[in-house]
């Protein structure tokens, strides 16, 4: 016993070193699994405040980019306006059914509402990347909401404080997103993951090889999960091949959103999420 104590005293720095490294390893594992170590992330108050202050300065240099992305969004919204459509058929009634605005009563429900937010901290260099947004619990942001931008999807909210929230970026090795590729109007769905180290690309699997996909085909969100609304752009098919013996393509998808410069995002709040999840859990 005495020699054991002497040994510990003699080697105390080595033992302390090993204990501290173990703590660090546990922190890494824990954070990747539970994603709620809010205290140690930049959504905590102090780090959040510092980043917001820095953000004020950075915004001035990025005004032209912001204006570009805002006008792009305005363009998309204008395209959806009823007044921006020319009704080309004599049967006006048929057309009205397509435009939700003209339908009254309970026939159209609001499925998603959006909370706009600014990215105040961003990383793309790690294996699991996170963003910090300047919107939190007080603004209605909750865990596991989806985050989208003008050009595509961004990530999933993992932790929320009163004024800030952290988002697990789609550039994370343990995040899966389901996506659709449309070939002649038929959707082929597959699963997108980020396996590379390159922030411009994601990998897509499980698209059957009989689908005649081409380079440049759009990949859109499928709306299967409760996180992202259907039909949001993710990226475009960059390269693809069928591994020998496989029934599925291996596709590399070029992301539409430049994840390094992303500034303005929208947190998507699925109003029918609980109903869907409750129904789905009844089958298990």
């Amino acid at each position: 016993m005495r020699s054991l104590i002497l040994l510990i005293l003699k080697r105390s720095s080595l033992i302390l070193f090993l204990i501290m490294e173990l703590i660090c390893a546990l922190l890494v594992i824990n954070y990747n699994k539970k994603q709620n170590e809010i205290f140690l992330t930049s959504s905590n108050f102090f780090a959040g405040k510092l980043y917001s202050t820095l953000n004020v300065a950075k915004e001035y240099f990025e005004l032209s980019d912001v204006a570009d992305s805002l006008s792009y969004e305005n363009e998309m919204l204008r395209n959806q306006l009823a007044s921006s459509r020319y009704i080309n058929i004599p049967f006006q009634d048929t057309m009205r059914r397509v435009l939700p605005d003209s339908l009254g009563g309970d026939s159209v429900l609001v499925h998603f509402t959006y909370i706009h937010a600014t990215v105040i901290n961003n990383s793309v260099a790690s294996s699991n990347n996170y963003l910090t947004l300047n919107r939190g619990r007080l603004h209605g942001v909750e865990r596991s909401m989806g985050v989208v931008s003008a050009h595509g999807i961004v990530g999933i909210v993992t932790a929320v404080s009163n004024h800030f929230s952290t988002v697990k970026s789609i550039l994370s090795r343990d995040l899966k997103v389901s996506g659709n590729i449309f070939v002649d109007g038929t959707p082929f769905s597959g699963s997108l993951t980020w396996q590379s180290h390159d922030h411009r690309f994601m990998n897509m699997d499980y698209v059957p090889k009989y689908a005649k996909i081409e380079q440049g085909d759009s990949v859109l969100t499928s709306g299967f999960s409760t996180v992202f609304p259907e039909g949001y752009s993710i990226g475009k098919v960059d390269t693809f091949f069928v591994p020998p013996g496989s029934a599925y393509y291996k596709i590399r998808v070029r992301l539409e959103e430049d994840m390094t410069t992303i500034r303005r995002v929208y947190v998507a709040n699925n109003l029918l999420k609980e109903e869907q999840l409750k129904l789905e859990s009844e089958n298990e």
């Binding site: 720095s13 501290m20 703590i23 660090c24 890494v28 180290h197 390159d198």
Partner: protein, 172 residues
Amino acid sequence: MNNQLQANIFRFILLVLLQILILKQIPVELASFRLLIFLYPTFLILLPTNTPSQVMILLGFLIGITLDIFYDSPGVHAGASVFSGFIRGASLRLFGVDVDQVKIPTPSRANIGFGKYARISAFILFFHIFVYYVFDVFTFVYIGEILIKTIGSFVISYPVVLAFALISNVKK
């Protein structure tokens, strides 16, 4: 002694601020790898030579976890900094700095010479970055990626560390 404590606290704050407000904001891309620039290990290199190794390890954890809060990566910077704190004493001895000599409390460029400082900081910085990427990727399956990122990051970080040593002039 009190003076030295103040100097180290000041260096801690300065290096953390430089790291998160400037170096973190610079995007560096090398063959599609996004790389980090490391300057803050300078804090561990410049701690007084007579610091007990247990204190070195705990201070390593402190500066690492501080950066982790800003990098959103709990444990990754901390793991690397604990390692750097652990090997600091041994690397001073390895490159021939007499750690028991009371005349040079701080192993700075001005006190031990630029050549020695450059070698010691290269040694610590390289292992710091290597351990960082081991913790970041957290599996040896990607050992090639870890090595490429380590070398790339070292090549861009080392000039910054040396530049900081040339600008700062610690004589105490």
